[in-house]
Amino acid sequence: MTIEKFSYDNRIVKNFALATIIWGLVGMLLGLIIALQIPFPNLNIGQYLTFGRIRPVHTNAIIFAFVGNGIFMGLYYSLQRLCKARMYSDALSKFHFWGWQSIIVLAAVTLLTGHTTGKEYAELEWPIDILIAIVWVAFAINMFGTIIKRRERHMYVAIWFYIATVVTVAVLHIVNSIEIPVSILKSYSAYAGVQDALVQWWYGHNAVAFFLTTPYLGLMYYFVPKAANRPVYSYRLSIIHFWALIFLYIWAGPHHLLYSSLPDWAQSLGTVFSIMLLAPSWGGMINGLLTLRGAWDRVREDVVLKFMVVAITAYGMSTFEGPMLSLKSVNAISHFTDWTIAHVHIGGMGWNGMLTFGILYWLIPRLYKTNLYSAKLASFHFWIATLGILFYAVPMYWAGFAQSLMWKEFTADGILKYPNFLETVTQIMPMYKLRALGGLMFLTGAITMAYNLVKTMKQGTLNAEEAAEAPALEKNEKEHAGHWHRWIERRPVQMIILSAVVILIGGVVEFIPTFLVQSNIPTIASVKPYTPLELQGRDIYVREGCYTCHSQMVRPFRSETERYGEYSKAGEFVYDHPFQWGSKRTGPDLHRQGGKYPNVWHYHHMIDPTIMSPGSIMPSYAFMAENDLDISSTPAKIRAMQTLGVPYPEGYDVKANDDLTKQAKSIADDLKKNKVSIDSNKELIAIIAYLQRLGTDIKASKTE
C-alpha cells in the first residue's frame, strides 16, 4: 500500500472564517439598527435606510453571509480531513470565495437601493440569482471532486448532510427564482397568488432546513466529536437523523400559510409533517448532547464545548417550538406576531450563532498553530451572548403573545376592545426596547470575539499548507459481502441522486395538485388585472419592503373580519406576481385597505404617518412626493405580465401610459379638492392608487 503525501488547504478555511466574522458583525449590527427603528422611528433616515429596506439586508446578511460563510468555513475544513484529500481545485475554491463575497456586496447594494423581488429570503433580483447559481455550481464541483478523489472509502455522515445541502439548495433556488425579467434589475415572479405563496414558503421553510440546519448538522457531527475528542454518541441514530430529516422537512412548508387562502389539504399536510419532524430533530439533538457523555466536566472549562452545548440545546428548543407553532390552534395566536421573530432568533442566534462561535474558537488557534489569545474574553463572550439571546427572545415571546391577545379581545358588547391597531403596538413598546438590548449584548459578545480572534491570529502564523499523508484508496478493492447500504455510503454520485429523489417527493406531491387547480381556481369574475398606475404603485410597495411590516391576508377569524373586513379568498390573488401576503404585522393588514380612507388621508399618512395616527412608528415616505414616477417602464411591465397570462388586451402595452396619466390626474385632482397640491407624476400618486385598489375587487359583488 502506498502512502501518499499531500497537504490540506487551510488558507481557504481562514478566508471563509474571516468573512464569517466580518459579515456576522455587519449582519448583527443591521439587526440592532432595525430593532431600534421600531421604538425610535426617527432612525428611519431618508429613502435608503428605512426599516423596509434594511430588514431584508439584515436577514440576507445573517442567513447567506454570516451562516453561509460559516458553512463554507466548516465544510472546507472538515471535508478535506474526512476525505483525507485536499480540495479538488484551488482555483474553484478561490472562485467560490470571491464569487460569494461579491454576491453579498451586490445584495446589500441592490436591496438598499430598492431592487427586490419581494419574496422573503429570496429578494435578490434575477442577475444576482444567476450569479448565485454559477457560484453554487462551482462549489458543488469542487466538493464532489474532493469526495471523488478521497482516500477514505466510507463517507462519514457529515458528508451526507453536505451533499443533501448542495443538492437541495440548488433545487430550491432554481424553482423559487423562476421569474420574468422586465429590465436588468426588475422581474416578476412566474407564479401568482396562492401558487407563488406555496412555492415561496416551500422555499422559505426549506432554506431554514437546508441552509441553516442540514449543513450545520454536518458541522455538528464533525466538530462536536472533534472538540469533545470522542465519537458521536450513536452513528445509527445519525443515519436515521439524516434520512428522516431530509425526507420529512421538504413537506412542511405550508405550515407558514395556516388559515391563509392556501387550500386546506395543503395546510394539513404541512402541519402533519411538521409534527413528525420533531422525532428526527430531537434524535439529532440527543445525539449531539450525548456525544458529551462522560465529558461534562470538560464543558465547565472548555468554552468551545460551552458554545456547542448551548447551540445544540437551542436547536432542540427551536425544533420543538416549530412543530408546536404549526398546530393550527397555536398558529392562530402566534402568526403575524413577534413570537415568530423570537422563534427564528432562538434558531439564528442560538443554533447557528453559538455553533459558529464554538467552531471559530476551536478552529482559529489550530489554523494559526497557537493558543487562544484570551480564554477570559471568550468566556465573557459566552455569557453575554447567552444572556443576550434570553434578553432578545423572552420579551419577543411576551410581546407576540400579548399583542395577539389584544388583537383578538372583544368587549362584553361584542366589539373589538382595541379597534385601533396602533394601540396594540404602543402597549408592547417596552418589549421592543428590551429586545434591542438583547441584540446589543449579543453584538457586544461578537465584537469581543472578533478582537480575541484577531489577537490570536497575530500571535500565531497561519499554517496555510498543512502536511498530511494517507494510503491511497485501492481502486478495485473487492466489495465486502457487507450490506447494500454500504454500497451507497461509498458512492457520492448515487448518494446525490438518492437524496435528490428523497427531497423531490415531498415537493412534487405538494405542488402538483395546487398547480392543477390553476385551471379551475375559484375565479372571481369581478377580479380584474391592476391598472397600469396601480401596477406601478404595487412595484413601489414591493420596492419599499412594505411586506416586512404589513400583511395582505385577512384570516377567517371574527377578530380579523371585524377589524379588517371580509377574509381573503384564493381567487383574489390570481394577478399578484409576486404575492404580498407578508409574514409579520408590525402594522395592520392592508388587504381590505382600498376605499377605507380618502386619498388625502393616504397623502398625509405617507408624508408623515404621525399626523394621521399619532404615535405611529411607520417611517415617513415624504420622498415619494418628490420622486417622479418612472413611466418609461410601463410597456415592458405590461408585456411581462401578458407573458405570465395576465389578460391585458393585445397591444395594451403602448396604450397603458395614457390610462396611467388619466388615473393619476384624477387622483391629483381629488387631492387638490382637499387642498393638497401635488403633481400627478409623483410616486406618491401611484402608491395611493395601489392602496385604494387593494381588496376592492370583491366588495361590489360576491360571485363565489
Binding site: 466510507h154 443515519i239 436515521i240 387550500p263 447500504h485 406531491v509 375559484p522
Partner: protein, 58 residues
C-alpha cells in the same frame, strides 16, 4: 370550496395513497437497514473524524 376544486382534478385520490405507500416504504427500508448494519463498521465509521488529530496541535 377547496374540496370541490380538488375533486375536479382527475384521479386526485391517488395522492394520499401514493403518499402513504411512499412513507411506509421509506421508513421500512430505513429500519431494515439500521437493524442489519454491523457493529464493527459503525464503530469504524464513527471514528473517522477523530483520525489524524495528532497532526493538530492539541
Amino acid at each position: 370550496m377547496f374540496r370541490n376544486n380538488l375533486e375536479s382534478i382527475a384521479g386526485v385520490s391517488i395522492y394520499p395513497i401514493f403518499s402513504l405507500i411512499v412513507f411506509f416504504a421509506f421508513f421500512t427500508v430505513l429500519i431494515a437497514y439500521l437493524i442489519k448494519m454491523d457493529k464493527e463498521h459503525i464503530e469504524k465509521a464513527s471514528r473517522i473524524p477523530l483520525e489524524n488529530s495528532e497532526l493538530n496541535n492539541d
